[in-house]
Amino acid sequence: MTTNTSEIDEIKSTPWNGGRSPFNVEYGKMMMWFFLLSDAFTFSGLLIAYGALRFSSVSWPNPDEVFQSAPGIHGGAPLVFVGIMTFILIMSSVTMVLAVEAGHRKAKSEVSKWMIWTIIGGLAFLSCQAWEWTHLHHEGAWWGANPFLNKDGSVASTNFTNLFFTITGFHGFHVFSGVVLNVIIWINVLGGTYERRGHYDMIEKVGLYWHFVDLVWVFVFTFFYLV
């Protein structure tokens, strides 16, 4: 009898028997992870549509010809501008982790400093994207209009521009949302909200979102600019 009771007690002490958090993360952080999982499926859907349409095409525009300009450079410099954009986004991811790290030490002014750098990085990336969209638009590219020829010299369908503007636009909208969230969290840091709360977990949650945006860009960069 005594043995039975102790066995039951032992079973009840596992993390999965209720009354505690089996993943040992805060609820909001776990929900952010599941949101990001769903967002990963959304972006996968878009990128897989791109892959399927590209595989169904006999030829496709050459990214080195389409993306060969930067501010002040009129052609002949493939990958330069997108390289700068990639660097900006990786940098802003680094400053975001540094903000999280400072949050663990509850160093308010340091958190604030790194949040500002992250926000600046996000705005810089958005400005670059605005320049690139404007530049391509001036060249005659837009949804439903593709001035670029295929690699084999044939006239290309509008699939390329439709997918480019939709996918980079959807990603850019995520960056924009991330900047807005970062600004809100930064204002809360300045207001001492997290100091009063006793922890800076919100920095981690908004940080997860921000890294995800960087992660998506890594894939967009590969599939639109390199492959």
């Binding site: 499926f41 897989i48 595989f55 940098m91 975001m96 982790v97 590969t222």
Partner: protein, 113 residues
């Protein structure tokens, strides 16, 4: 703030990123991107690598970058194994989706030819 949350917040400090580790991951990401640029701007134009081989290397390097961002920046490597699996296992479906759709896309091209 409840005692439970305090416990979680305290536990989080365990295995967290130091500044040194953060910059280490930064250099890895920058290094991988530099290799990608080297392939795109030097190796492929000079004919050292063919386009299909280059593409396979790009995808491999992209997945490596994704691993570093998710594992270290997003801290997933240091979470409970249950959370890691509940995020990574659903992503397996994407692999099947990619294979099916690229196969299908290729099929459309052959219909058109």
């Amino acid at each position: 703030m409840s005692a439970d949350q305090q416990h979680i917040a305290h536990h989080d400090d365990h295995g967290s990123m130091t500044k040194k580790k953060i910059w280490g991951v930064f250099w890895v990401l920058l290094g991988i991107t530099t290799i990608e640029f080297f392939i795109a701007l030097v190796l492929i134009p000079r004919g050292v690598l063919s386009h299909p081989v280059g593409n396979i290397i790009y995808i491999g390097l992209t997945l490596l970058k994704a691993f570093y961002i998710v594992a270290y920046f997003m801290h997933l490597k240091f979470e409970k194994i249950g959370l890691i699996y509940s995020i990574l296992v659903p992503l397996m479906f994407i692999i099947f989706f990619i294979i099916w759709m690229l196969y299908e896309g290729n099929f459309w091209m052959h219909i058109r030819l």
